[in-house]
């Protein structure tokens, strides 16, 4: 395979973003068309990578590309791309969210219906693609420096996207809070990464940011125990780990629909993935030493997030806190450090990404038409927007972990893995399933099936074809994985295999 497919996937959004910026501001529809075309190409390419991995050898890193970027001792940075069973689903996930995000943001130029992005779509799509390119870059980078590079690229467009196109009431506060949280996390992790770089040199004489090299660096237990926490938590902030989750629901609420989808769907995975890739995989001894702490925090996040989601009256806050809860499950899976739990975490990242993107997409559609997201003020949406209701229900079933949907495939192994390590935590965490079922069903009943309030009667129109395409796309993936777990689980297992080798087990 000589075609540099991962580079193309990563750099295409950047190129498209730059191109979009050069288009005239008045040509809104052309801008949208270019954005959609780019997203489709990226989705197809990432789907191709996924399928090739699935149907191919299914082991190790594939589609590997390596170019020396800077090799001047003592700094050695390479553009080293590759996907394994852990990252290939996430690349696909990014492609899906990018595609549906563009569809949802299409907008129309009718001043009476505020749907999608009306104001300055040129800048919006350019920044969104900058974000998408950064996310792809993190998932495929095998070089620690480049991972940071793309990670930071993914962080700052969020500020602009939320602050400019967000919900007027909280956007400035939420955008700044989010950026500062994430920036603090990443720079703390950066110090750890630099310490790893120089210590690797002392240990092995190898100067390289290549993570495959760093895996062999043989860091001492003391070093790992000391640096694991800053590195892991530095990244995990973006994964929404309790008690550093606070920025996340605020960010979700303030962000425009497509950005909420990106944020909950992909960005939070970015944090969890980087924490796993850099924290656990490069500092396995540290991970073993501190796994109890992660497990405790994640366990709290799972139950606490679900409970807070239960008491929310704002639909977006509800989904935001349910994300904290579900990302807590990912972290819980990671903290088990056994193959069952890690596999569950890997699948959960994908499943939650698609599910929460769908939730936010539907919420955005409702808000654009009803002009409110407050659950008590809504009702009877199923009658006017049946597609949204179907989407929300399917998302809800995934969220509850119903068999036949991707949520079950993901959550079941996580609980099994946790049970093997610490049964009590599994028992406590499973409370969240009950709470989740409660708030999901209550909200579905209230928002979609209760009688419609009078002030909304006749004001709500149906959604566009593009919105429906987005909903169907997202639903297909969730049902597909739920019915045929074999299209994802074995793949994630091969990724986990590598982690288990590093952890010295299995």
């Amino acid at each position: 395979m000589n075609f540099p497919i991962l580079s193309v996937i990563t750099f295409l959004p950047f190129a498209a973003g730059l191109f979009i910026l050069t288009m005239p501001a008045t040509r809104k529809n052309e801008t949208r068309a270019v954005a959609l075309a780019t997203a489709v190409v990226d989705l197809l390419l990432s789907g191709w990578v996924y399928l090739q991995y699935l149907l191919g050898h299914m082991q190790g890193y594939q589609f590997v590309e390596k170019y020396t970027w800077l090799n001047i001792p003592p700094i050695n940075i390479s553009l080293h791309f590759g996907v394994d069973g852990m990252s290939a689903p996430l690349v696909l996930l990014t492609g899906i969210v990018m595609f549906t995000g563009v569809l949802i943001s299409w907008g129309n130029d009718d001043p009476h219906v505020m749907a999608g992005i009306q104001d300055r779509p040129r800048e919006f799509f350019a920044f969104l693609f900058l974000l998408a390119g950064g996310v792809f870059g993190v998932f495929v980078s095998l070089d620690l420096f480049m991972l940071f590079f793309f990670y930071e690229i993914a962080v700052f467009p969020m500020y602009l996207l939320i602050a400019i196109w967000g919900w007027v009431k909280t956007r400035e506060y939420a955008a700044m809070k989010l950026t500062l949280y994430l920036f603090i996390g990443s720079v703390v992790a950066l110090v750890g990464a630099l310490a790893m770089y120089w210590t690797q040199y002392q240990n092995t004489g190898v100067l390289s940011f290549d993570m495959l090299e760093m895996e062999k660096a043989g860091f001492s237990a003391a070093f790992q125990n000391a640096w694991f926490l800053p590195v892991f938590f530095g990244f995990a902030v973006l994964g929404g780990i309790w008690p550093f989750h606070n920025w996340s629901p605020d960010g979700h609420v303030a962000a425009p629909t497509a950005v909420s989808m990106f944020h909950a769907g992909v960005l939070m995975k970015l944090g969890a993935f980087a924490a796993l890739r850099v924290g656990v995989m490069l500092l396995p001894e540290g991970a073993k030493h501190w796994s109890w702490l992660i497990m405790a925090f994640a366990g709290i996040a799972v139950v606490y997030g679900a409970y807070i989601a239960f008491v929310q009256t704002d639909l977006k806050y509800m989904i935001g806190f349910s994300s904290v809860s579900h990302m807590g499950l990912v972290m819980l899976g990671v903290s088990t450090l056994n193959s069952t739990g890690l596999t569950g975490a890997g699948v959960q990242m994908f499943s939650h990404g698609v599910m929460t993107a769908l939730f936010f997409a539907v919420t955005g559609m409702i808000y654009d038409r009803a002009h409110t997201r407050m659950i008590p003020e809504l009702g009877g949406i199923a009658k006017v927007i049946p597609w949204a209701a179907i989407g929300f229900i399917i998302g809800g079933l995934v969220s509850m972990g119903m068999p036949g949907f991707s949520g079950f495939v993901a959550e079941f192994p996580i609980f099994m893995g946790v049970w093997r390590e610490q049964w009590l935590v599994a028992v406590i965490a499973s409370i969240s399933i009950v709470i989740t079922a409660a708030y999901i069903m209550m909200n579905i009943r209230k928002v979609f099936f209760s009688p419609m309030p009078e002030n909304l009667e006749g004001h709500i129109g149906d959604i566009t074809v593009l919105d429906k395409v987005a909903i169907v796309t997202l639903c297909l993936f969730m049902i597909g994985i739920g019915l045929f777990p074999s299209i994802m689980v074995p793949m994630v297992e091969t990724g986990v295999q590598h982690i288990m080798t590093l952890l010295g087990g299995a």
Binding site: L21, A25, W69, L70, N71, I72, P74, I75, E123, F145, F148, F149, F150, E152, I153, V155, F156, Y159, L160, A163, I164, R171, E172, M176, T179, L180, F183, I184, V187, V188, L190, V191, L194, A195, Y197, W198
Partner: protein, 482 residues
């Protein structure tokens, strides 16, 4: 004695002088409204001078020329190119300055100061060093106070002059003591003399502090920073940009050469002093930037903090550390000139300089908004702009040298920085003008601005993405320092 090599070693300076003479010759013949063409002449001339120097003036082996006064090496050469680039951009930005752009003297002074900076980068002798620092400074004093009848500008010029004169006197005293101990004014001989001679650490400490007063003033680190905000605010904006980039970089060029070459014996002591200065500079600069309401004052405090970041690389006292400083300066020059360029382009039309006045800028001129975005994100240390890689490198050098505490201070400061840089961008992108009629208030850019700003923005992105060639030049340069 005047060989081809000697000629090559001062080729850039000869060319700069020639451009200055051309400006001087042509300017009286031009009519009032044509005089801004001196800016084209300066910028174009510098561009040609850079190409000629690259072709014919590249050093091979480091050699001492002109009786040891000048050292002809890659270190000086790369920095000279940076300074000339900065001066060319400044000349373009100066052209459409209402009250300075149509006066030939401004370009002449700019070139004179550039001449001094170039010599600062290559002097290897205390006397030459002092002369070049003064050559660089005195034209800048005049340029800062260039706007006749403008109180702020006059204040800026006078303040800069008083502080500068005092600082350079103190530094000269340090130099004289150094000469007394070492018996030589040549930097490379001083190193040998100090190693073999028995200079007590206390005396050496005194000398280092005295010298640092002068250099600290040039690079504007705390506690020698008091002049910066007032001068930046009062001086014509392009001049302020030049002060904050080329002038600062020239100061760093001297710091690296002087300390790395002449004081290796007292490394433990001066790295500690620099570490403290760096930590204080970053902290004070960033904290004082928070409450600023004037964009130029904000950039002044930000430039104080950036002097602190860059100094981390010098503290590390390693080849990589020095290279990271040079790389940082390259990224910083492009970034900060871009920032000042945008401010200049904005205030030329509106006459305003408050941060709140930037509201709606991205709608009034989307290109200018994007430039501002690039500049400020680069200052905040975000990829894909130059500031990110530069910061990672100086931090890496700090961690390597076991100055983790300093890096931690740097990191806390970058977080503060992100806050106020994003705050400015909030005005540019989010807020709107009171009547929301941005279309009625466009900000047209003239040709020199478009050229200068696009070149600078491309530079900022190139340094941040394709950083290998830039870092390679810095590294090769530093290698020739010793």
């Amino acid at each position: 004695m005047f060989t081809a090599q000697t000629f090559a070693s001062i080729l850039p300076e000869i060319l700069i002088l020639s451009i200055g003479l051309l400006v001087l010759i042509f300017e009286p013949f031009w009519k009032e409204d044509q005089r801004r063409n001196a800016g084209w002449l300066t910028a174009g001339g510098l561009f040609v001078a850079m190409i000629i120097s690259l072709l014919f003036g590249r050093p091979s082996e480091p050699t001492a020329v002109l009786g040891g006064m000048i050292r002809f090496d890659m270190y000086g050469f790369f920095l000279k190119m940076l300074f000339m680039f900065a001066a060319a951009a400044t000349a373009l930005l100066l052209m459409d300055h209402e009250r300075a752009g149509n006066r030939g003297e401004a370009y002449l002074l700019l070139l004179a100061s550039l001449l001094g900076m170039n010599l600062m980068a290559s002097s290897a002798d205390l006397i030459m060093l002092y002369l070049s620092i003064e050559t660089a400074s005195i034209p800048l004093y005049i340029l800062s106070g260039f706007l006749l009848g403008d109180d702020r500008s006059t204040e800026a010029g006078f303040k800069y002059f008083l502080f500068g004169a005092l600082a350079s006197t103190v530094m000269l005293y340090g130099f004289s003591l150094l000469f007394g101990f070492a018996g030589t004014t040549n930097l490379y001989d001083i190193a040998a003399a100090l190693t073999s001679g028995a200079v007590s650490p206390l005396l050496a400490f005194g000398v280092v502090v005295l010298v640092l007063v002068g250099l600290g003033f040039k690079v504007s680190v705390v506690p020698f920073h008091f002049w910066a905000p007032d001068v930046y605010q009062g001086a014509p904006t392009p001049v302020a940009g030049y002060l904050s980039t080329a002038s600062k970089a020239a100061g760093f060029a001297v710091v690296l050469r002087l300390f790395f070459v002449a004081f290796p014996e007292f490394t433990g002591m001066w790295t500690m002093i620099l570490a403290v200065l760096s930590a204080i500079s970053m902290t004070v600069g960033n904290l004082l930037a928070l409450p600023q309401t004037n964009i130029k004052r904000l950039l002044a405090f930000s430039s104080i903090s950036h002097a602190g970041y860059a100094m981390i690389g010098a503290v590390a006292f390693s080849q990589f550390g020095a290279a990271s400083v040079i790389f940082y300066l390259a990224a910083y020059i492009a970034t900060n000139l871009l920032a000042f360029g945008v401010v200049m382009a904005f205030s030329r039309i509106t006459g305003l300089e408050e941060i709140t006045d930037l509201a709606g800028l991205s709608r009034r001129n989307p290109l200018l908004g994007l430039m501002m975005l690039a500049a400020f994100l680069s200052l905040a240390g975000m990829p894909p702009f130059g500031g990110f890689v530069a910061k990672v490198f100086v931090f890496a050098a700090g961690v390597q040298a076991n100055y983790t505490w300093l890096v931690v201070v740097g990191i806390i400061n970058s977080i503060i920085g992100v806050y106020y840089y994003l705050n400015v961008l909030k005005y540019v992108y989010l807020y709107r003008m009171p009547e929301q009629d941005e279309e009625q208030h466009p900000i047209p850019l003239t040709q020199p601005y478009v050229i200068a700003l696009v070149v600078l923005a491309v530079g900022v992105i190139l340094i941040g993405t394709v950083f290998a060639p830039f870092f390679n030049l810095s590294d090769v340069g530093v290698l020739t320092l010793f």
